[in-house]
């Protein structure tokens, strides 16, 4: 029996030893080098009062007059700028997707979409039937365009999340999907949808033409780090940032159709995320030196060159949990009480002088009882454009939605669900441009393809080529005649449209130039491609059973044939992690190929061949040996019956003594890559690292699938 007191003593002893560790010799010099190139911030608190010589009566009169004029000016300007919201200004209805209780294993169910008018009356605007979606509706986010397109998230069998766009004007039509995974989708003022991709690009989807394009706006990452997606401006551009991500201040916008021009930013107040950016492009966030959790003593900063503090939270009995710019130049802040038990949520309005006013209080549930986790009691869900209706989501099962009227100080409970956005009175009747929807490419050729290290993704209506060699920020869309129109925003072919024909035959795909005035692009693109194992943006993506794939991006390239008979999926980070899985008889078999990070080190430099052994030499050999492994022997991880040894993964900074002690620790050690995922390291015959997992390996069908998959691997180095 181990007591908590004895654990505390042992931990104290361990940490006391570790407290004697010294920083590496170069560390101080490195810090001072960086500091030499770093400018200090300006003070954010007042300097001490400077003694001023006593003034005579004339000087006092002048100062008094100047002060009076200044005050009068401030009053007039304040009256002009801080006018109360006009209650008749925004007549939009709030659109909510009604809450769907999740039932494990249950069939998907219809989702009601309701519109709530300013007077509180409700009407149904559509019901999303499961048959309208390619995946399963996922209660995560929703968005609404000014002309009635509704975006909802769906999940597929492999776990990938894809947005689906429905049309409130045609509520029974099947959803259309962007040719991109993506997060934080936001509709812009022209009805196009922008979302952040995991690779740092921004995907732009036009629901009218069904075309998807992508822009390489690396600076957008600065916004994504603040948990909101691309921010549209009133002019239809996208806000971007400059400078380091931590302090990134919003300075301009990019044109989604022309990345070469930037102009001043005038944010479009659609969605809560954009409310973190004001008309002057100032980003509102917590203390820049702090994390995003806004715990404890926080300050809110308006990020500009000067980064002024606009609000300081000093009361430790409450926590700031959400904040947004108000249209009058002030700030809306949500707080929760920090004490244990049910929490009180308060909506505050803060003016730029630091004065705060309580607008509403709501009852929130207690925090998660698990002391290692925390869930905030509430967050902003939506603001009407005139700030007359502020929608707050209070955490709970399900979350409660409340509409707060700041003028009347009245809070009204709304139906449970997800807020999609605001529907203007003429949103469904205003004319839309009559445009032709892009045709679809054949199902048989969709997926990842590669030739000469150029990898392309054939999507439903576009080909994602990305940036390769002479190509820069490529957009490739399908023309009505089935040909593919390719244009670059950068590089030697910038601005030149090329037309290509796509043909498939067997396991190959052929791109042929029909009309292209850029010979560099023809040389790069035209030719025959083979199927590639990709590295999807989110989750796993389906791969075709019975098909041979090549993984050219993996550190050690290989070909593999996916065993027939079971739906299969791939997930990869491109270079050193590749996960192939299959759904077999209701469970999942998974083979993971991992190249360990860093070099393989011999402990304490005792290796006869030197201190470090780079891994590429041994990876093919160990994977060859892997194929010999009998997978039916062991529960967690097969190690066979031969003298195969499991070694544990040892952190690189362990001491020699600790490392040596592990040499005889012949016990199984698992390393979590995901919760409940068994994973191990096998040493076999002298070279050899293997990290592989197979859930339920006692299943005969799973074992056969794993063995077939591994047996088909052909190493290309």
């Amino acid at each position: 029996m181990i007591t908590t007191a004895s654990v505390e003593r042992r931990i104290a002893a361990m940490l006391a030893d570790e407290g004697l560790v010294r920083a590496p010799e170069s560390a101080l010099a490195d810090v001072l080098t960086v500091v030499d190139g770093t400018t200090q911030r300006r003070r954010t608190w007042p300097s001490p009062v400077i003694a001023v010589p006593r003034m005579d009566s004339r000087q006092r009169l002048i100062v008094a007059l100047a002060a009076a004029l200044l005050i009068a000016g401030i009053v007039v300007a304040g009256a002009l700028l801080a006018r109360p919201p006009d209650p008749s200004k925004d007549l939009s209805s709030l659109v909510i997707l009604e809450h769907q209780p999740f039932i494990e294993g249950g069939p998907p169910r219809p989702v009601g979409v309701v519109a709530i008018a300013r007077d509180g009356s409700q009407r149904s605007v559509m019901t999303i039937e499961p048959s309208q979606l390619d995946g399963r509706y996922s209660e995560w986010y929703a968005g609404l365009s000014v002309d009635g397109h509704l975006v909802v998230p769906t999940t597929t069998e492999g776990g990938a999340s894809a947005p689906a766009v429905l049309d409130l004007r045609d509520p029974t039509a099947h959803a259309i999907s962007p040719d991109a995974e993506g997060a934080f989708p936001h509709f812009g003022p022209d009805g196009r949808l922008a979302m952040s991709q995991n690779d740092g690009r921004v995907a732009i989807f036009d629901p009218l033409t069904a075309r998807t394009s992508r822009i390489d706006a690396a600076a957008m990452i600065g916004l994504a780090e603040h948990d909101f997606g691309p921010v549209w401006t009133a002019e239809g551009g996208l806000l971007t940032t400059t400078g380091p991500a931590v302090d990134g201040h919003v300075t301009g916008q990019v044109d989604p159709d022309d990345l070469t021009t930037t102009s001043d930013a005038h944010p479009y107040y659609a969605g809560v995320g954009a409310r973190r950016v004001d008309h002057d492009g100032r980003l509102l966030r917590c203390d820049p030196a702090s994390d995003e959790s806004c715990e404890g003593l926080i300050t809110l900063h308006a990020i500009t060159d000067a980064s002024p503090v606009v609000w300081t939270q000093s009361d430790m009995s409450v926590r700031v949990i959400d904040y947004a710019w108000a249209i009058d130049g002030g700030i809306w802040i949500l707080t929760e009480t920090a004490a244990a038990g049910p929490r009180t949520v308060e909506l505050l309005h803060v003016d730029m002088k630091g004065g705060s006013e309580s607008i509403a209080t709501l009852s929130g549930g207690a925090d998660d009882p698990d002391p290692s986790s925390y869930s905030q009691a509430a967050s902003f869900a939506a603001f009407s454009s005139d700030d007359a209706r502020i929608v707050v989501a209070v955490a709970g099962q399900p979350p409660q939605l409340w509409s707060v009227d700041p003028r009347a100080r009245r809070s009204t409970r709304l139906p449970d669900g997800i807020v999609a956005g605001w529907l203007a009175p003429n949103a469904l009747s205003a004319p839309r441009p009559q445009v032709e929807r892009a045709p679809e490419l054949p199902d048989a050729i969709r997926g990842e393809w590669t030739r000469d290290h150029l990898q392309i993704s054939v999507r439903r209506r576009s080909i994602d080529i990305g940036t390769h060699g002479v190509l820069g920020a490529t957009t490739a869309t399908v023309a009505p005649d089935g040909s593919v129109q390719i244009i670059e925003a950068k590089g030697t072919c910038a601005g030149i449209t090329g037309t290509y024909q796509v043909e498939s035959g067997g396991d190959a795909l052929r791109l042929t130039a029909v009309d292209d005035a850029c010979p560099d692009r023809i040389a790069l693109l035209a030719g025959s491609y083979e199927r590639a194992l990709g590295h999807p943006d989110t989750g796993s993506v389906p791969i075709v059973p019975g098909t041979r794939y090549v993984a050219t991006d993996f550190t050690v390239p290989f070909r593999v044939t996916i065993p027939a008979g079971h739906a299969a999926y791939v997930d990869s980070n491109k270079r050193d992690f590749l996960n192939i899985s299959a759904m077999i008889e209701g469970s999942m078999a998974t083979v993971t190929l991992v190249v360990p990070q860093g070099d393989i080190l011999q402990p304490c430099g005792v290796s006869p061949t030197g201190k470090r052994t780079p891994y590429p030499d041994w990876v093919p050999a160990f994977l060859d040996k892997l194929i010999e492994v009998d997978f039916e022997q062991v529960g967690f991880l097969d190690v066979g019956t031969e003298p195969t040894r499991l070694v544990r993964a040892i952190p690189r900074d362990d001491t020699c003594e600790q490392a040596a002690s592990f040499a005889t620790a012949q016990s199984f050690h698992s390393i979590p890559i995901a919760p409940s995922t068994p994973m191990g390291v096998i040493e076999r015959g002298g070279v050899h690292i293997l990290i592989l997992l197979a859930r339920k390996p006692d299943s005969t069908a799973e074992v056969a699938w794993v063995r077939d998959l591994l047996g088909s691997i052909e190493w290309l180095q």
Partner: protein, 181 residues
């Protein structure tokens, strides 16, 4: 920490800051390494904390609060370092057969403790490290982490409980010989 040095550094004196950094860096590094369990990442977090310290020092109103403020910067840097971390972290050494030595019981015990410690969340590790390595009282731990005192207490309690449960589970786990039998 000498408040005169802090005030001089706050006013832009790089030599004064160099003295502060030299005095603090080992302690910061040891703390970061104990939480992160990785020397390289600890060095990155330490550097980040000190650079932020220099950059934001003019915003520090009370030089007497410097130590607590610097600890807070370090914890933020550690959190950022964790956030930047990969989804898994498998750094592997091969242990040559001829390097086998008799395992010392003390090492085995420390190994088990280390593994249990690594299984804790960074929040829980931080409370243990600040309390037991830096010797801070729980109110000081709460301040360094920017959390209420009650939260600090509950994290400490949970962390010790979790380590204890982890050690007990480790003792019950089968040895490889048993698995292969």
């Amino acid at each position: 920490m000498d408040t005169t040095l802090v005030e001089r550094a706050r006013d832009g004196d790089r030599d004064a800051f160099a003295s502060i950094a030299a005095e603090s860096i080992d302690r910061l590094f040891a703390t970061a390494r104990a939480v992160l369990r990785d020397a390289d990442r600890a060095q990155d977090a330490t550097q980040e904390a000190l650079v932020r310290c220099w950059r934001d020092l003019p915003t520090l109103r009370d030089p007497d609060r410097f130590e607590a403020w610097l600890r807070r910067l370090l914890m933020h840097a550690i959190t950022d370092e964790i956030r930047r971390g990969r989804r898994f972290d498998a750094k592997v050494r091969l242990i040559p057969e001829d390097d086998v030595v008799e395992p010392a019981a003390a090492y085995e015990d420390r190994d088990r403790l280390d593994r249990a410690f690594r299984r804790l969340s960074v929040d829980h590790r931080a409370v243990l490290v600040l309390h037991h390595l830096q010797g801070l009282s729980l109110p000081e731990v709460a301040e360094a982490l920017g959390i209420p005192l009650g939260t600090a207490k509950s994290r400490l309690h949970y962390a010790l409980d979790a380590v204890r449960a982890s050690l007990e589970a480790d003792e019950r786990s089968p040895m490889i010989e048993e698995v292969l039998a």
